[in-house]
């Protein structure tokens, strides 16, 4: 059974990484039109090092994504705790209100934000983009952390309390450590949502300032070249390194070590 499980997961990972492998491979392929047969070259990485615009855009994307992750994970988790653990009137309504940000197409939300921010003087720029990104990431954080909370046995917290702990202490000592995997997953989601968000960024960025997905999207008119693959591959590589480092440092016992 375990062997079957391992094989199945391996197959799933192959499926997930197939286009990623193609993406990385094409970063090393000479044809600007992604035509095969494969011809190895480092030309696109060289071109990338001279492409100041794309590099600046990538830097902006990462900065905004980090900011978004911190803010969204924090306030989203707080809300998730309330929605999952506390009974109050209006709870269902608040849960339903998480749906519009993911249901309404981003094009509508982006246009709505553009118009509303213009009318209210909030305008465009870094602040507007972060405003938008965090708002779009919050539902993911709440849903993921909520799922993690709901899956946990509340009687553990109650057991701690019956042994004399206050609810607050029970939360911090018992629930929060168990919640770590969910928090990490939610943070990673928020980061992904922000990093790949182009519609909202596109509408709310000031002229001349850009993010990576916006650069890629607007260059589909002219033609995106494998330079885009090159920068995506570099980002991917950097993420892998970062994750390994983070995992070592945080010692994610909640995910791996417990059972």
């Amino acid at each position: 059974m375990t062997a079957l499980g391992k094989a199945f997961l391996f197959a799933v990972l192959v499926f997930l990484y197939l286009p990623v492998a193609v993406l990385v491979a094409m970063a090393f392929n000479a044809s600007p039109l992604y035509a095969l047969p494969f011809e190895f070259t480092l030309h696109w990485f060289e071109a990338l090092s001279g492409n100041a615009k794309l590099i600046a855009a990538t830097r902006n994307s990462i900065l905004i994504a980090l900011l978004t992750t911190v803010i969204a994970t924090t306030i989203g988790s707080l809300a998730a705790v309330a929605l999952s653990r506390r009974r109050f009137r209006g709870r269902t309504l608040l849960q339903l209100l998480l749906l519009p940000p993911i249901a309404i197409p981003w094009l509508i939300i982006g246009t709505a934000m553009l118009v509303f921010f213009f009318w209210t003087g909030i305008g465009r720029g870094l602040h507007a983009m972060v405003l938008g990104h965090v708002a779009l990431a919050i539902p993911y954080v709440v849903l993921v952390v909520g799922a993690g909370l709901n899956a946990q046995r509340i009687d553990l917290e109650e057991a701690a309390m019956s042994l004399g702990s206050t609810p607050r202490h029970a939360f911090f000592a018992v629930t929060l450590p168990l919640l770590m995997p969910s928090l990490v997953a939610a943070a990673l989601f928020a980061f992904a949502v922000s990093l790949d968000q182009f519609v909202v960024s596109y509408f709310l960025a000031t002229p001349g300032v850009s993010t990576l997905p916006v650069e890629i999207y607007t260059s589909i008119r002219k033609g995106f070249t494998p330079e885009v693959n090159a920068v995506s591959s570099l980002l991917l590589g950097a993420s892998m390194v970062l994750i390994v480092v983070f995992a070592r440092l945080s010692g994610m016992g909640g995910v791996g070590g417990r059972r």
Binding site: L33, G123, T206, G208
Partner: protein, 359 residues
């Protein structure tokens, strides 16, 4: 990041100004002199690095760009960013509509020396005129017609090839209601921007279902799909066909069939709220200069210039010159302004056709 902070303060100020009804009034702006912002499609001439460098050397003016991906978007950006842009590229079918909203500045051709060489048919096009004033400088023109793979192009002289058996599953259409309705209107001998028999137009398009494989929406998508051999016949832009040949050696031939082609004319305009109007006009003058156009067309590939002198200076065997014959200017139906209801009717018709293709 420095610019972003300035922008925030700038926008808050602007918001207050708008609320006070001071729209369009001169306001203090935190902007460096000798810098202009241009709004255009990405990679469409105005952002050629060498051209901007030459311009900066000659005039000391720095050029920054913002892009759009559809005319609607350009319109929205103009409406929601007063004072942000100095030059904007507008398809002549839209110029008078945008001018009507008070968003554009009339052009004084005395300040545009190169304009004397513009073809009068284009320079004086009614599309640029609103209320007796001209709001755009004719820049480049092109056509939408057939783009056919070279080894299938022999003898193709009609849009009927899109209905023929040999094109089954080998056709790529352009995802633009105005163009596609227009093509079908040409096939039926009707006007492209006001067909007299819309149901017949819709049926004509629906009849292409067995032939249509994909519907492209960007030049890049066209290039990649064509080079992968996915289709042989398509509705394509004339300037793009030249670029595809030049940049990627793609074996595509641009054909203007006997029914005609759809013409379009892009113009350079100055927003009414532009903070640097004089610099904007000098940039426009540079854009219609033969020195700019010839290098753009020969190095990169471009549609036809409205400047006859510029077209003359192209080498005789240049594909752009061969495709964009000047006699077409008299024959072509050009995309023109149309009332919103009709535009909506076009979009609805095309949406119905696309839904039919998908069913």
């Amino acid at each position: 990041m420095r610019t972003l902070v300035d922008r925030r303060r700038f926008n808050l100020m602007l918001g207050a100004g708008v609320a006070a009804g001071a729209l369009g009034a001169a306001m203090p702006r935190a902007r460096a002199a000798g810098k202009i912002t241009v709004l255009n499609w990405q990679g469409y001439g105005t952002d050629e690095a060498w051209a901007l460098k030459l311009f900066a050397e000659q005039t000391g003016i720095e050029v920054v760009h913002d892009n759009y991906n559809s005319e609607q978007e350009m319109f929205t950006k103009l409406r929601t960013n007063p004072g942000a842009y100095d030059v904007v590229v507008i398809n002549s079918a839209w110029t008078s509509r945008i001018a009507e909203e008070g968003l554009l500045e009339p052009i004084d051709f005395a300040t545009v020396p190169n304009a004397v060489d513009l073809d009068p048919l284009l320079k004086d096009s009614g599309n640029f005129v609103f209320d007796g004033k001209t709001y755009g400088v004719a820049w480049v023109w092109g056509m939408n017609a057939l783009g056919v793979r070279k080894d299938k192009a022999a003898g193709v002289d009609s849009y009927d090839v899109l209905l023929a058996p040999e094109s089954a599953d080998r056709v790529a259409l352009f995802d633009d209601a105005i163009t596609e309705i227009g093509i079908a209107a040409l096939m039926l001998g009707q006007k492209i921007d006001d067909p007299s028999d819309m149901p017949a137009v819709i049926d004509k398009l629906k009849a292409m279902k067995p032939s249509v494989k994909l519907i492209w929406s960007s030049e890049d998508q066209w290039n990649k799909a064509f080079s992968a051999g996915e289709f042989d016949y398509s509705i394509y832009w004339s300037g793009a066909a030249g670029r595809s040949q030049k940049a990627f050696n793609l074996p595509v031939e641009f054909i203007v069939p006997k029914e005609g082609a759809i013409g379009w004319l892009d113009g350079l305009s100055v927003p009414a709220s532009a903070p640097n109007k004089a610099e904007a006009v000098s940039f426009i003058n540079w854009m219609i200069d033969p020195a700019f156009y010839v290098k753009w067309a020969t190095d990169v590939g471009a549609p036809a210039s409205a400047n006859t002198k510029a077209m003359d200076e192209l080498p005789a065997d240049d594909p752009q010159k061969l495709i964009h014959k000047t006699e077409y200017l008299k024959q072509l139906q050009f995309m023109s302004p149309m009332p919103d209801e009709r535009r909506q009717a076009f979009v609805d018709a095309w949406e119905e056709v696309k839904a039919f293709y998908a069913s």
